[in-house]
């Protein structure tokens, strides 16, 4: 049976489950003015970040990809871009404008912060009122683009919360929806299993190329990642090696073929139907969720063992745990507790059903705990030093 949800259909047909008016600073210097607008205008969401000056090459391309993708995210109704230099801000705004949603640029040079804040606030006021009239309409769940990731994992993640998410992933892909996963470094020791899930030899080769490039960076630095991979939290939770962590990690991928591989700068194709997509990301929670949202994810399922608290300013992050201690000690962060699966009191299918039903409520408008707690992490990935 196919599910439907009530959601916002955007100008380009993309489906959002939230209705943010975004104030987007292009660079570190524009954070103050952007934050000033958000303080004046109720209903705006601002995403300060530390980058955007003197970046170059692939690193600059990636920042623009993330900023414009975030503005283009279907959970966003309209965007105010603020940048110190107008031409740079226009590059990002032009990309966002391709979605058909309202976007406007306010440069700081020649105006100063105060005039910029005033002009941008007047526009933001209009955008918020416009957005407030947008209605949710019934849409098929196949139009949903979602993402998955685990964090502060422990052995309970591999035993229960990740396989429960795997049940949801299968169900979403079977209904024609799109699911993205990543965590390149955290596939180490299970990369052959992921490679075997690729739908075509070409995808397999692209995936292995991305994986090898990541591994080469780690080897070139000559670092011993033990202690950061697995993390101290992972080790506290019983995970001993990267291989053990990776094998637990991939439990959430479900059983469908991976029919899409995206490197950092690749755009997700919409409307292919039934897509399971590997995205090259770091395994850092906020960085990965930020990149997924920039590629179009509108909801994120996040499993945690020891208790990762990550959220995102624009997309709901649903926190799932199977660790009964974490569920009790960090209850304000946990949306779905499947720890009874550890005691075999429920079946894996029942645990998956619990996560799926909760996700439907969130897609229809229920706020996640991360949203209510204002966990608004926005962390663009930086690839190398600036000029």
């Amino acid at each position: 049976m196919t599910s439907t949800i009530k959601a916002y259909v955007r100008e380009n047909g993309a489906v959002g489950v939230r209705n943010h008016v975004l104030v987007l600073p292009l660079d570190d210097l524009s954070n103050t003015a952007a934050t000033g607008v958000a303080k004046l205008i109720r209903g705006t969401t601002v995403i300060p970040h530390p980058y955007g000056r003197l970046q170059f090459g692939r690193d600059l391309d990636l920042l623009f990809h993330i900023l414009s993708g975030t503005g283009a995210n279907p959970n966003v109704a309209g965007v105010i871009v603020i940048g110190i230099e107008e031409n740079w801000a226009n590059k990002v705004a032009d990309e966002i404008a391709k979605t058909g949603k309202p976007v406007e640029v306010f440069p700081i040079e020649g105006n100063g912060d105060l005039r910029t804040i005033e002009k941008a606030s007047r526009k933001a006021l209009e955008m918020v009122q416009e957005a407030s009239e947008k209605q949710r309409t019934e849409v098929d769940i196949s139009s949903v683009v979602m993402s998955i990731k685990c964090g502060e994992s422990d052995t309970t993640s591999g035993l229960a919360s990740n396989p429960a998410v795997g049940v949801v992933v299968d169900r979403m892909v079977d209904q024609g929806a799109t699911v993205m996963f990543g965590e390149t470094s955290e596939l180490t020791g299970a990369e052959d299993i992921v490679a075997d899930k690729m739908a075509t030899p070409e995808l397999r080769e692209k995936f292995m190329k991305v994986f090898r490039e990541y591994t080469e960076v780690i080897e070139r630095e000559g670092v011993d990642l033990l202690g950061s991979q697995p993390t101290q939290g992972n080790i506290k939770g019983g995970l001993s090696t990267i291989e053990e962590k990776a094998l637990g990690n991939i439990q959430k991928l479900g059983h469908r073929k991976v029919n899409c591989v995206l490197d950092y700068l690749d755009q997700l194709e919409r409307g292919k139907g039934g897509t399971l997509c590997f995205v090259n990301t770091s395994s850092a929670a906020a960085e990965a969720v930020t990149l997924f949202a920039a590629k179009g994810s509108v909801v994120h399922l996040f499993t945690t063992g020891q208790g990762n608290v990550v959220g995102h300013p624009l997309i709901p992050v649903i926190k799932i745990t199977a660790n009964p201690k974490t569920a009790a000690q960090m209850s304000e962060h946990i949306d779905v507790d499947v720890s009874d699966l550890l005691d075999l009191k429920i079946s894996l299918e029942e645990a998956g059903e619990r996560v799926y039903k909760y996700m439907l409520r969130v897609l229809n408008g229920r706020l996640t705990r991360a949203e209510v707690l204002q966990h608004d992490e926005f962390s663009p990935i930086k690839l190398y030093i600036s000029a």
């Binding site: 035993l159 180490t188 991979q229 939770g237 019983g238 001993s240 090696t241 291989e243 637990g248 075999l344």
Partner: protein
Amino acid sequence: MPKGLVHSKNDDVCVATTDIRKGEEVICAYLENPSSYVIVKSESDIPLGHKIALRDIRKGEKVLKYDRVIGVATQDIRKGEHVHVHNIKSLRWGK
């Protein structure tokens, strides 16, 4: 009720699903068929989420979980002992 779970029938370790005290008889159920189980006497305190050896593992032997190698024993490990970073290490990362 089981106090531990085993991913696969060939695995060398059981994951504690509750805190376990030294000397306890632990029922470890197999996830592939939860009505089947093995009982192991715990030789150490094992915190929730940590692993117990299901057999004697000699130094240098590979350790299986998910029916896959998750690392190699850096010292002899007795059946029932805590298996963790103090006695196994990655074959991929770490010196």
